[in-house]
Symmetry: C2
Subunit: 499 residues, 2 copies
């Protein structure tokens, strides 16, 4: 027999001495979600506050998650035909001014460089809040003919937005992201690209981060400053608030007209190109914490966990001779299978302390091995997602562990999906809407007339905003009346309070 399930945690030589649970110091999620969030991020050493207001340092444990996200996302972006490039950090103020909606949207958040060395600059430079303007100015040089299209470029970069209220990973003055910028011959092609990327993002977030999302269009109020249409994926965090996980904008010809990005079409007429832009950021790391974390700490999906497996030798008897070599062999065998393993053979900590630490850090699978396990050619596996123990035969370990990791990935997704479904409510009228948002939180599906006035009132009175207008309206139920004004409902939308 390769796997034996153990009924409950706490029996045998590897059991945890409850007094050693240093993670008890974490504020329970139910008590204070915000505090729980920040404590987890700091205690797991994912990030720390920088000495400047609103800025953070991404520490190695957090950055390793970002590297895994980057690698998996970069592969998808390249497979979809895009190439990476790098555009300047600074954008002249006059460039931002060309697209007025864009300028007005970003001006309050721009950090301005005014001096280079000892000299004052003739023109202020914006530290990029997003790169449409600078990239547009380059595309105008590079694109001449329909043969040059499509241009499919992505960049990985740092972004600065002068935010008043900040929170690590979710909203910081500086953050890291990828931003795609494409140019096309026709409006249809730009729209296709916008939607293709929206679904690329959905697939990425659901498969790799194990977070289910709702995809759809943003309302005019929530769309990107300078876009024709903004599409987004939205997820429900475990406190019932929504988080925007990624956006894909159809820019139409807004930027090509002001930056004069023209091409000779197949009929030799000069035309403006049709553009898109899209991005996801280090905010995704915050989403991992808030979607999957529990009172003991992080629960990381194996696909992006810095360590997928931690091996803890139990320091009993002559463990360095009797146990450690076996732990080292497990480490090596799994590593050769391409699994990210950490062998924790530190002597200054007890096994119980280690269990607790790696639990807090969200390592998906812990393998414990003690002298008795060695004798019986087995080890104990503890899954972080369900806190369930199994006995694994050492001979089959390299086959069993990848299966277990796949199970954990799937199980985290299904737990989150189940939560999202249980926390998505219908509201027929505004009374029900208000009551639901107060008592149940989560997503509220309701009909909306499409009027920004109603949207503003709802936000003012309930703090809920239109998160997305689902793309496939026809799949939803039959039309009703606007939840606020009772006029005919044009669209069925998802409302929520959001980060």
């Amino acid at each position: 027999m390769d796997r034996i399930e153990v009924a409950k945690i706490g029996d045998g030589e590897n059991s945890l001495n409850k007094n050693e649970r240093f993670v008890k110091q974490i504020t329970p999620k139910s008590e204070d979600f915000s505090r729980w969030y920040v404590e987890i991020i700091r205690k797991t050493e994912m990030a720390d506050y920088a000495p400047m207001k609103g800025m953070m340092v991404i520490r190695p444990y957090g950055y390793a998650i970002w590297e895994n996200i980057q690698q998996l996302m970069d592969m998808r972006i390249k497979d979809a035909g895009h190439e990476n490039a790098y555009f300047p950090l600074f954008i002249p103020e006059s460039f931002l001014r060309k697209e007025m909606e864009h300028l007005e949207g970003f001006a309050p958040e721009v950090a301005w460089v005014t001096h280079g060395g000892q000299e004052e600059l003739e023109e202020r430079l914006a530290v990029r809040p997003t790169s449409e303007a600078i990239i547009g100015s380059m595309y105008a040089k590079w694109i001449q003919s329909w043969r040059d299209l499509p241009v499919l470029i992505n960049q990985w970069a740092n972004i600065v937005r002068w935010e008043k209220v900040t929170r690590p990973f979710l909203r910081t003055t500086e953050f890291l992201w990828q931003e795609g910028h494409t140019a096309h011959e026709t409006a249809e092609q730009a729209q296709e690209e916008t939607i293709r990327i929206l679904y690329l993002y959905k697939d990425f977030v659901e498969k790799e981060l194990a977070i289910p999302v709702i995809e759809g269009k943003k309302s005019v109020r929530e769309k990107f400053a300078g876009a024709e249409e903004t599409y987004a994926i939205e997820a429900l965090m475990s406190d019932g608030k929504a988080l925007q996980m990624g956006t894909s904008h159809n820019l139409g010809q807004h930027f090509s007209k002001v930056f004069n990005i023209r091409f000779e079409d197949r009929e030799q007429n000069l035309q403006y190109v049709w553009q898109t832009s899209w991005g996801v950021s280090t905010r995704l790391i915050g989403a991992l914490v808030m979607s999957h974390g529990d009172d003991s700490g992080l629960r990381l999906p194996p696909q992006v966990a810095p360590f997928q497996v931690v091996v803890v030798p139990i320091a009993l008897g002559d463990w360095k001779k009797d146990v450690l070599p076996w732990a080292e062999k497990i480490n090596l065998d799994l590593r050769q299978k391409g699994i990210r393993v950490r062998l924790d053979s530190r002597e200054e900590y007890t096994p119980g302390w280690k269990f607790s630490e790696w639990e807090m850090r969200g390592v998906p699978l812990r393998l414990e091995i003690g002298p008795r396990d060695v004798k019986e050619n087995r080890c104990v596996a503890v899954r972080r997602d369900v806190q369930k123990k199994e006995i694994l035969n050492l001979d089959s370990l390299v086959q069993l562990v990848p299966d277990l990791l796949r199970d954990i990935q799937t199980s985290l997704f299904h737990q989150a999906l189940d939560f999202q479904r249980r926390n998505t409510h219908w509201a027929e009228d505004y009374e029900e809407f208000k009551e639901t948002i107060e008592s149940k939180k989560g997503f509220i599906k309701a009909w909306w007339c499409g009027d920004t006035g109603c949207e503003d009132k709802i936000k003012e009175e309930t703090m809920a905003t239109v998160r997305v207008i689902p793309i496939r309206q026809e799949e939803e139920e039959k039309a009703g009346r606007c939840v606020y004004c009772r006029k005919e409902g044009r669209e069925l939308v998802y409302f929520a309070r959001a980060y």
Copy 2:
């Protein structure tokens, strides 16, 4: 027979029509090296000028080289025990002021942020010219005990230095780099790390970029502002000027004392940590151009080339039926072997135009296949490094191509090494020194008393500077007299005019 060498280029169906050589537009290297350099970079679409003075855009072809450099370097840095992290872009002015030598060294080059949104900041923020100050302030929080040491952190980031004279990749207002920052218990450990990284860089540049370097210490005049000692690797570009390729600094306790980075040592005494920092940048891409490029364009080492192989089907007769499927099979077979291949089946260009373009872009190996080749189950391989043709049997292609790529990598290194050796000269006295630097350029090995006065005079009169003081002095010849002042020569050094 698997490989047949063809005596000279220009015979058979695949030969190039000389009139199609559009790369003739490149200024010959011998005529104007600077112009040749910039033209190559722009025509190969590695980079373009941004609309702001001194800034550039790294286009996909250049960025793909950087991605390959990053991947190979990142692996080495991690294998040496370091982890990646990310620190803020902005550094408060007061932090830079703490280490005065550091401030004075960088102040003339700093871009200052003075406004966030509509508000003027209380304190100016430097856009990082390097990150010792901000990282030091964080290490002071993270390091308490000798158990926390060593701290081995690296970051990949953008850097801004307000340069007056700029040149793409070599010196631009913004560039990309990696910067390692480590903290140690003892002075010896910091020195060991400094040297370990110096040799890691040397190994990387010689093996992956095929550029031989001289490693050694910098003079006081040339050392990093705030370091105890700076070590560097220096290469000779093909115009006879030297280029600093990477630096590794022993920071001693300069930063730990001003940022108060203290730890309790093994005897429970409070001590300041010993630090190092080190970096290489996108400048390495400039070095690739200047080391290996020729009048036809780039010659990229296979290890970092975006495409290692380009496959060009010869459009003769019913080529889409008779040739293209074979070209596609070659493309697929090589790709499955993990080789970066580009199949160029574009119809709007002639084979000759394509040969010329990929030659300019420096693709290490070109495979040409025409209808006659298909019949004889072969293709023609043209090496970019030596412009030599070979006939390859299609059945053995996946075995032969990796061998050829290895040959090309080695051959580029040996060509560059040979150039470096032929251009390294001895100067016994100052007359010989001046004559050599004027007539022959290259490295000049000479004795130096170690006095900054002599160094300044030499620079003033010849534009040559001390590039490195080789680490292993004992391996060099017996002591002589300072090439300038004729006092006793303390050190044998490499002088050169440099970028």
